[in-house]
């Protein structure tokens, strides 16, 4: 077995990362209203919230898993399925809408051959929509991971994607 494989446990995270989850849980011990920040930090570590992670958080915080699912599914920020290595968030807010955001989304869907809300089969890209990232002055805009790209045209999309491929 290769090293990579031994490190993978059934929850999709490796042991070292599981330790990180416990660190997060210790940090929030006894803090009021901790569930959302814990989920946010857990997702930062694991990329998404697997069943095992949610169960462990429930045990440690003493919250029913059904309640955690209720919260995790309510907020668009949380993901229950694995996601791509690069997260594309294309703005569909008002300022971007009036400056052609629909065509940008179309170009992304055509180029990646997936629809918004899904991940490419090779797990390279996840395509999501977002309502305003506050860079409206550069509309239409998109974010890939932490980089913001503005003043977009559909023609510019393949070039931008190539930088992350």
């Amino acid at each position: 077995m290769s090293k990579d494989q031994t490190n993978q446990c059934c929850c999709g995270g490796n042991n070292e990362q599981f330790a990180k989850l416990d660190e997060v849980l210790v940090k929030y011990e006894g803090v009021k209203g901790a569930l959302i920040p814990v989920l946010q930090e857990a997702q930062n570590v694991y990329g998404y919230l697997s069943k095992d992670i949610i169960t462990r958080i429930g045990e440690k915080l003493g919250i029913a898993t059904s309640q955690i699912y209720g919260v995790a599914t309510f907020y668009s920020q949380f993901h229950l399925k694995p996601r791509g290595r690069n997260i594309i968030r294309v703005c569909q807010g008002t300022a971007c809408h009036v400056r052609g955001a629909k065509a940008i989304l179309q170009a992304l869907e055509d180029n990646l051959k997936i629809s918004a809300g899904s991940t490419t089969p090779d797990l390279k890209f996840t395509l999501e929509t977002v309502a305003c990232i506050g860079a409206c002055g550069l509309a239409p805009v998109l974010m890939i991971n932490d980089d913001t790209h503005g003043r977009l045209t559909p023609e510019a999309i393949p070039g931008i994607l190539a930088k992350y491929a």
Binding site: I36, Q40, A95, V98, A131, G137
Partner: protein, 596 residues
């Protein structure tokens, strides 16, 4: 100590960073060091100037020369010419859209001239990560004044007299709200700042938090003193990582200097602040949903009363205000309520920051006195419509607001006049539309947004908006029926009257207001199956105008042989056969083919 002879301000806000400001800064540092100028010229990172469209922005002081769209490659010339030889780099100056004149000085830009920047006074001018910059500009003086020279009741009275109204949408008198929380009985009280900024297309709160975070912190601390709270929360949307980072730094620095924490200014007043990151739900901007979210629950609104002032966070009396509301507080305490109340109109005092976006030349943030006309905002400050097109309408107040047509452009912008014409101030998002925007499509856009964001707790909002959206979809796809307009109106009334929270109660507004001023566009879609703006692709027909020279290129490009005509004669499109692929438009060398 070496004498600093020039300051180079680089905007490090979200917009300019996206346009490459960090690379410009690195290049500048390197170039200054290379030329040995790094001791006498200081680089300062600032927050957003509200003119992100022209970014990355670089301003050179003492002259105040305003450079736009500066890229790495421009840096050597900028240093050599301006900083070394004192010669302005003409080609990097801003050019006015109408006159094409280039403007060297910050204050002469038409975008800034008519603005009255009070809340935004520091944004773009100080380093938001250095508390000393804020203090040097008079920061925390108001907190000192309140804590050492005023009683909590005096502070509340002062805010009441200023006439300040909430900037988060509703326009509720801030002093009165503080009074309620002050009078509420409780062993523990909270101050909460609503920085969820949900209106998609509004970014004034982001700008204030990134560019001048201490102003908001100071406003919250003054509020804490006034109402008797020792703890506060800032609820910031997760889409604003830079604002969150700057707030963290600001809170740490304020604690270090004893401006937050125990016994502030030796007054015995304690105040601590925490940040809560939102998790991407528009409804969490609604105050009761926001409080539920801070408590770690699903962010669903609950009926009021009880209002948060009586029973808020964890059941304790809680005062919740918007970012811009808090940012107004320090100057009211410093300069007095009478001074503040002298700005604006009878019932709307002070200034308001608007986010100008859409089909307008100057996208950006404009802070203006209440009561200014929409025409001045759009044409004088905003520089008019892109490409000289015709103004059609402006949407104010985002998904809860309404639109104003051409004939209302001279209306004074204040809370009450806007309500009268079926719009609302909202957070201050202004989306400008020109003749190419379809108003039915716009209404559909907003309704699709609120529909997707409905939390699902009550039926009128959850099901009603879905049904309305179906009707609007049908209309824009050319399947509208007689009676659809009346149905939309009836459903709008029902939802407004029965929805539980502001999201549902205001969701039909964009539909009602576009119906009020652009009913004929709805009718054209339904009865003539035509989109007058040429925006709804299912309804746009193609036709050939008299510009046609009869070259025949279009005929060859049409995949379905919908074009007829003889060489040198005017060609024609058979609208029955045309599949609206658009191939012919692209081919015509004489621009004779039009949509719509």
């Amino acid at each position: 100590m070496q004498h600093i002879r020039a300051h180079v301000l680089i905007c490090a806000g979200t917009g300019c960073t996206a346009s490459g400001a960090k690379r410009v800064e690195a290049a500048l540092q390197e170039e200054l060091a290379k030329k040995g100028l790094d001791k006498e010229i200081k680089i300062v990172e600032t927050g957003c100037h509200g003119f992100c469209e022209a970014g990355p922005l670089v301003i050179v002081y003492p002259e105040g020369t305003f450079y736009v769209r500066v890229q790495e490659e421009d840096v050597p010339e900028l240093v050599e010419s301006h900083l070394y030889k004192g010669r302005i780099v003409e080609r990097l100056l801003y050019k006015e859209p109408v006159t094409h004149e280039s403007v060297p000085n910050y204050n002469d830009l038409s975008f800034y001239k008519k603005q009255q920047r009070m809340v935004l006074a520091n944004c773009g001018h100080i380093n938001p990560e250095v508390i000393g910059d804020y203090i040097a500009s008079g920061g925390y003086e108001a907190l000192a004044k309140a804590l050492t020279g005023m009683s909590p009741t005096e502070v509340v009275a002062e805010v009441k007299k200023s006439g300040l109204r909430g900037r988060g949408g509703g326009g509720f008198p801030t002093g009165m709200k503080w009074g309620f929380t002050q009078n509420a009985v409780g062993d523990k009280k909270y101050v909460v700042c609503n920085a969820d900024e949900g209106d998609p297309g509004a970014f004034m709160d982001r700008s204030v938090l990134e560019g001048d975070p201490h102003r908001v912190i100071e406003g919250m601390a003054i509020c804490g003193y006034a109402i008797g709270a020792d703890e506060g929360y800032l609820y910031v949307r997760a889409e604003y990582p830079l604002a969150i980072k700057r707030l963290r730094i600001a809170i740490d620095q304020a604690e270090e200097m004893g401006l937050l924490g125990e016994n502030i200014f030796g007054s015995g007043f304690n105040f601590r602040l925490k940040i809560k990151e939102g998790a991407g739900a528009f409804v969490c901007g609604e105050e009761t949903a926001l409080l539920a979210s801070i408590e770690g629950k699903r962010g669903m609104p609950r009926p009021r009363p009880p209002f948060p002032a009586i029973s808020g966070l964890w059941g304790k009396p809680t005062n919740i205000n918007n970012v811009e509301t808090f940012a107004n507080i320090p100057q009211i305490i410093n300069k007095g309520s009478a001074w503040y109340a002298s700005i604006g109109t009878e019932k709307s005092k002070g200034t308001k920051v608007f986010a100008l976006t859409g089909r307008i030349n100057h996208t950006g943030l404009a802070e203006v006195p209440m009561g200014i006309s929409m025409r001045e905002i759009i044409f004088d400050i905003g520089g008019g419509i892109i490409g000289g097109k015709k103004f059609k309408a402006v949407q104010i107040g985002g998904p809860s607001g309404g639109c104003l047509p051409e004939q209302l452009l001279d209306l004074p912008v204040d809370y009450d006049s806007l309500i009268q014409v079926g719009a609302m101030m909202g957070s201050g998002g202004l989306v400008v539309m020109d003749e190419t925007t379809c108003m039915v499509d716009l209404a559909k856009f907003f309704l699709a947004f609120t529909q997707a964001e409905s939390c699902g707790k009550c039926t009128p909002c959850r099901e009603g908006t879905k049904r309305m959206l179906e009707i609007l979809n049908r209309i824009t796809e050319g399947n509208g029926k007689e009676g659809d307009i009346e149905l939309l109106e009836e459903m709008s009334r029902n939802i407004k009257n029965t929805a539980l929270c502001g999201l549902g109660q205001t969701a039909p507004n964009p539909v009602l207001s576009t119906l009020r001023y652009f009913r004929n566009e709805y009718e054209a879609h339904i009865t003539e199956k035509r989109c007058p703006a040429g925006a709804c692709s299912a309804l746009t027909g193609y036709s050939i105008t008299e510009l046609c020279k009869g070259c025949g290129l279009c005929k060859k490009s049409c995949p379905v042989e919908a074009i007829s005509g003889e060489i040198k004669g005017r060609h024609n499109i058979n609208s029955e056969a045309c599949i609206k692929c658009g191939a012919c438009i692209a081919k015509c060398p004489f621009k004779a083919i039009i949509k719509g």
